[in-house]
Symmetry: C2
Subunit: 444 residues, 2 copies
């Protein structure tokens, strides 16, 4: 038998805080025998599936491009759930959807949770959406159980994560004016898109939150890799979001007639570039650590079957939790390129065009996530996030934590993207437990 809503609220106001001082265990009874809040797994997966009404495709995937009709409808759906959870709902000047509830301690800064719901074209139904559904369910559970937190709570559905984390970056004052004119996959510019969502692109600067203005940010997300699944681990405790450096690589040989140029007289830029691609793969694979290095793009000039390639342009990307490690891996790759170039009569040039600094999560948040998983009996493991996330932006204004759940086969950005319903529930339970624990932690 469940207590009435009013009595539950009275009880839990105290008990949640008390439990949080130790570790909140959603769904268990606390020392006083009170039923602690727990995730409604069925509802959670229904919310997640509900998003598929907006851009879901017959193959199980979702195309909900930022700023599209589907995005706008999906956000309205999320706003309705926020209202059901008793949150005050508004769209900020950057176009992020925010649901807010006050905290018991008037001086406490908000705990922010959330993710995104926009997808890449022909994307999956889990990326961003699991974290958004998990945050919405967390707010619903707190409402159901009448839990009054010490901190204000904000649930945020960031805008345009896939197109450059625009919403979260605007929140930390990082969107450059020129970006507003970029045309996104939806066909709308970011400027138009922000206005479509209800933001004001001309007042973007006012969307900025000050560093230190939040108690912390917690994001639940699918792993998008196969690490957890391969290890049979249920929860990933994210150590940080890897830094990224990208280079344009140009290999210049001599274009020549493929019929009249003997093999030993060629300075074939593609043969040299092929040596390079192999070297990149080998250096990244054999160096100790979890760095990854990728050549994802390659173009040949003139690019005809009957012409020995004269110039190859390729991309090089290296990611690691340590920027210094990225540098040392690059140094090794560059040295290999020089040797390859000498052997093949081809000149290599590198031009760095992109950098994203590594964003470590807060050690206290990692421990809270671990303790929450432990309390629930879930296996967990620390791991880097190879992908970028809104948490990376939020790390600029406060401590962040991230919770990963397994992605089937590590497949993401694809209709084949999948996370088991029970893993979705486990992730949301750890998120709820972490929010409760964070709310009761004495360091904020």
């Amino acid at each position: 038998m469940q207590p009435s809503r009013t009595s539950r609220r009275t009880f839990l106001k105290a008990s949640a805080a008390a439990a949080a001082l130790a570790v909140a265990k959603p769904g268990r009874s606390d020392a006083w025998g009170v039923q602690l809040p727990r995730v409604d797994g069925e509802r959670l997966n229904r919310i997640l599936a509900g998003f598929r009404s907006f851009g879901g495709t017959p193959d199980g995937g979702t195309t909900r491009l930022a700023f599209s009709e589907e995005d706008i409808a999906g956000r309205a759906y999320a706003a309705g759930l926020m209202r059901r959870a008793g949150l005050d709902v508004f769209t900020d000047l950057a176009g992020n959807l925010v649901g807010r509830r006050p905290g018991g301690d008037l001086g406490a800064r908000p705990i922010v949770i959330g993710s995104h719901i926009d997808t890449v074209p022909q994307g999956g139904s889990y990326d961003g959406q699991v974290g958004s559904a998990g945050a919405l369910e967390t707010a619903l559970v707190l409402s159901d159980y009448g839990v009054a937190l010490r901190h204000p709570l904000e649930v945020v559905v960031f805008q345009n994560e896939e197109g450059g984390k625009t919403g979260s970056r605007a929140l930390v004052g990082r969107v450059a004016p020129f970006e507003l004119e970029i045309e996104t996959a939806s066909g709308f510019t970011i400027r138009e898109g922000i206005a479509r969502l209800g933001g004001d692109p001309d007042r973007l600067a006012e969307a900025r939150r000050e560093p230190g203005s939040v108690a912390g940010f917690l994001e639940l997300h699918i792993e998008q890799g196969a690490y957890l699944e391969a290890a049979g681990t249920q929860i990933g405790v994210v150590e940080g979001i890897v830094g990224i450096r990208r280079w344009n690589v140009e290999a210049t040989g001599v274009a020549n007639h493929a019929g009249t140029t003997p093999m030993d007289q060629r300075r074939d830029a593609l043969v040299a570039a092929s040596d390079f691609v192999r070297a990149v793969h080998e250096v990244a694979t054999t160096t100790e650590g979890r760095q990854v290095a990728t050549v994802g793009k390659i173009e040949v000039q003139p690019g005809a079957p009957n012409v020995v390639p004269g110039v190859v342009r390729a991309s090089l990307e290296i990611r690691d939790l340590s920027m210094a490690k990225i540098d040392s891996v690059f140094a090794e790759i560059e040295a290999r390129a020089i040797s390859i170039g000498e052997a093949r009569g081809v000149a290599f040039a590198f031009d760095r065009f992109y950098e994203s600094l590594a964003a470590p999560t807060d050690e206290r948040f990692r421990q809270i996530v671990e303790a929450s998983a432990d309390a629930l009996g879930y296996s967990h493991s620390r791991m880097p996030s190879g992908a970028g996330h809104d948490a990376q932006s939020m790390a600029e204004i406060g401590p962040v934590g991230m919770i990963f759940v397994p992605s089937k086969g590590g497949i993401s950005h694809s209709p084949m993207e999948h996370t088991e319903p029970e893993d979705v529930v486990r992730g949301a339970e750890v998120l709820l437990g972490s929010v409760l624990t964070l709310d009761g932690a004495d360091w904020d």
Copy 2:
């Protein structure tokens, strides 16, 4: 003192044929002390330079796209020279410019000489043009010296060699109807182009010459490779035009997030394709013979710096004088691809999309070219032609021979294309000598 035109003609009618029974030595005296015809080197190089009035560029190159205004003007210039050489000039139904003089033996089939004057965009001033100028000069010399040949002589400036040897292929009935609708570099379709040159695209079939209808075809051309220059040899005696086979190669791995997919879990199509490119180069380089193999085109999907390549599409081209050799080299490459695919978890598929059969020159023609070069004191060497030429089409209706002169640095299809004036003269002298020898040969 030169004999008058009339007396010269009388003398030479007999002496040329007599000399040809041995080996014609242009510019020398024959056994009876008669001055034999010789190339006017200065005029020849003036004719060649004259073509540069039509599409020549300040960098020394030429852009005279087939069917363009420059092409039409260049052909009018060639027609004028043909008339000066006393030839009957007409444009055949395929748009080839033909200059014809009758032979003394009414039953003899024509000796055909010539090449093309169209160029690739930003092409050179020698490819095709040296052979065309050489053929025109040959006709002028025969006229100057009043040489009456036993065979009719035809000088042909083929149309659209660079865009697919359309003119020479039409002459042997090999142009498929769909080709007429292909848009060429000039912006005109081949159908439009043929009409622009004065041919009739609707009566193309009538342009066809019957197999056995010509005594032979001789083409002078620049090597477009660096073999002669590197060897210090003056004349290349072409053994044949290499056969070509081309494949579309598809390597299918698994596209994945470049941040979240550990190195050891990748099935990177580009890493496998890079192994493949190297294998192609290695097999072609280490196998005995003069085969060449090239990967000139490569495309990656999805082709983004932050995505592990899922699919790579590339071209593979193999050339050799022997089609069987092409097959055996391909078999070795294919076997390597299978091993690579197994090691990298990537599937390779090959789809042959183009074939051009090897066209050997006639052994008797090779000997005539060699004997002509010997008579002139020029060094010579047998060699394959790695590039395709109009002679390749003509081989379908009669015996062919080809004479190569050195290309500086082997550079072709570029404004830097260059052949020394004295090499141009040597080539034309061997052409003239070969025509005279062929005219007198007793096997036709």
